[in-house]
């Protein structure tokens, strides 16, 4: 089934088409939610909210952009809405505050396990890094989304990338470096 047919079916509230849409986009949606939320349970909850919003507000979708991009943006917004309730994004952190974990060496981390890498970051820095590095948001957009200043966003990103570099990419014999 094509994207247009999926959209048309969702607009008619056809349960079968909705299920197909879910099957097609749910892995990516859940992946985004997992990157932002701490645990799987909350990630699934956010994924569910995302699909409910998609099916209920399908009429708001203009056929200008890609349908997948629209769904993934909804997923990010759902996660940010949830995180905004509990997380204090205002806190500014300098790279001098970085404390490396005792067992944080590349030997006990899988090179592909970026999930575990990101979990070493504080929540604010992790979300800003996610938005900037993976989603491709600008600092202004991040600031608007999280309700913080651009300076705070920059400092959070700076902290995140410095910590990641120092923790995982500092040794000269790293496999990661050889991959690139």
């Amino acid at each position: 089934m094509t994207e247009k047919e999926l959209i048309a079916g969702c607009r008619h509230q056809e349960r079968r088409t909705q299920h197909l849409t879910y099957e097609k986009y749910s892995p990516k949606v859940l992946g985004i939610c997992k990157r932002y939320m701490k645990d799987r349970e909350r990630s699934e909850e956010m994924a569910m909210n995302t699909f409910l919003s998609v099916f209920q507000k399908i009429d708001q979708y203009k056929d200008q952009g890609s349908f997948e991009g629209w769904i993934l943006r909804i997923a990010v917004n759902c996660c940010l809405m949830e995180l905004r309730k509990k997380t204090d994004f205002q806190m500014e952190i300098s790279p001098d505050d970085i404390q490396l974990p005792v067992a944080a060496t590349h030997d006990n981390l899988f090179e592909e396990d970026i999930d575990k890498m990101l979990r070493t970051l504080p929540e604010g820095a992790r979300i800003v890094f996610n938005l900037y590095a993976i989603e491709g948001y600008k600092h202004a957009e991040i600031a608007e989304q999280l309700g913080i200043s651009e300076g705070t966003s920059k400092s959070q990103l700076n902290y995140a990338k410095e910590k990641l570099k120092k923790t995982f990419f500092n040794t000269p014999n790293q496999k990661i470096v050889s991959h690139e």
Partner: protein, 288 residues
């Protein structure tokens, strides 16, 4: 490692988070969607309910107006006939509730349609009212009496019962001045009337009636006309006899009746004659 390399590293591997959630999550989504779709018809039913209620109200109102206009029932006919021809007794009119409602509604209609043409009809309608002996009592709100007298002016004061007015009368040469205390216009008019009655014989004097808050009343009572000379009473007989001509012109002295008494100075003092001797005015005095 540069920043861009770090970003690329994480971006490329971000797909490792992707994972199919499973049917359990879809089950939850489906149940929520079904629940929401089940809730949807509720507002539709509410809309239908509101529409039915509105339609019902309009129907009731229409029926009410139609029944008011229609006079098909025998009771209505009876009453309307009675209105147009003769009065009906109270007991008959109060027999049923319907009759009362009909009469009340009819009265309202007639009030609305009141025009010069329908005046006679209205009179007839009034004549069917059973209580003929009732009297019209002007409604006057009690607050009116509490208002400031100044604001109300003469309208209120005129309706108040008259009280005794105190006035001081000063009689001077050629004028009588009556000064009263503060009073209403009606009371002042009464005072003027009384003053004129009291001093109606004060000929030639100016009567002034004053009272605070009222316009001063001035009226001059006309002086009595001067008595005509006695010469005017000459009889025709006297003229024929040659006693001659118009009196006053000649300057003759005429004596009237003479009594059969001896005229002496003493007698004159004690019993003056009834008819006084009046001399005609001389031309010299007239000129003066």
């Amino acid at each position: 490692m540069s920043d861009n390399e770090l970003y690329t590293y994480f971006k490329d591997r971000s797909t490792s988070f992707n994972e199919l959630p499973g049917d359990a999550l879809w089950g939850k989504i489906e149940s929520t969607l079904n629940y929401n779709s089940a809730r949807k018809p509720f507002p539709f039913l509410v809309k239908i309910g509101i529409a039915i209620i509105i339609a019902g109200i309009t129907c009731v109102l229409l029926l009410n107006t139609i029944t008011n206009q229609k006079t098909t029932t025998p009771e209505h006919k009876k009453i309307l006939n009675a209105k147009s021809h003769e009065a009906i007794p109270l007991t008959k009119a109060l027999e049923t509730d319907e009759v009362i409602i009909a009469t009340v509604n009819d009265t309202v209609k007639k009030k609305k349609r009141s025009s010069s043409k329908d005046k006679n009809k209205n009179k007839q309608a009034i004549s069917i009212l059973p209580n003929q002996s009732s009297q019209y009592i002007a409604f006057r709100p009690i607050t009116d009496s509490l208002r400031d007298k100044k604001l109300q002016g003469n309208e209120l004061t005129n309706t108040l019962p008259h009280k005794k007015t105190n006035a001081i009368t000063q009689v001077m040469q050629g004028r009588i001045v009556v000064t009263g205390e503060r009073m209403s216009k009606v009371e002042f008019d009464d005072l003027v009337k009384k003053t004129l009655e009291t001093h109606k014989e004060a000929h030639g004097s100016l009567i002034i009636v004053k009272a605070p808050g009222q316009q001063t009343f001035r009226h001059k009572i006309q002086a009595l006309p001067k008595p005509e000379p006695v010469t005017g009473i000459l009889s025709q007989k006297d003229r024929i006899k040659g006693n001659n001509t118009n009196p006053g012109e000649t300057g003759y002295v005429r004596f009237l009746k003479v009594r059969d008494t001896i005229i002496s100075p003493e007698n004159m003092k004690l019993n003056p004659p009834v008819d006084t001797l009046i001399l005609p005015e001389s031309p010299k005095t007239k000129q003066k």
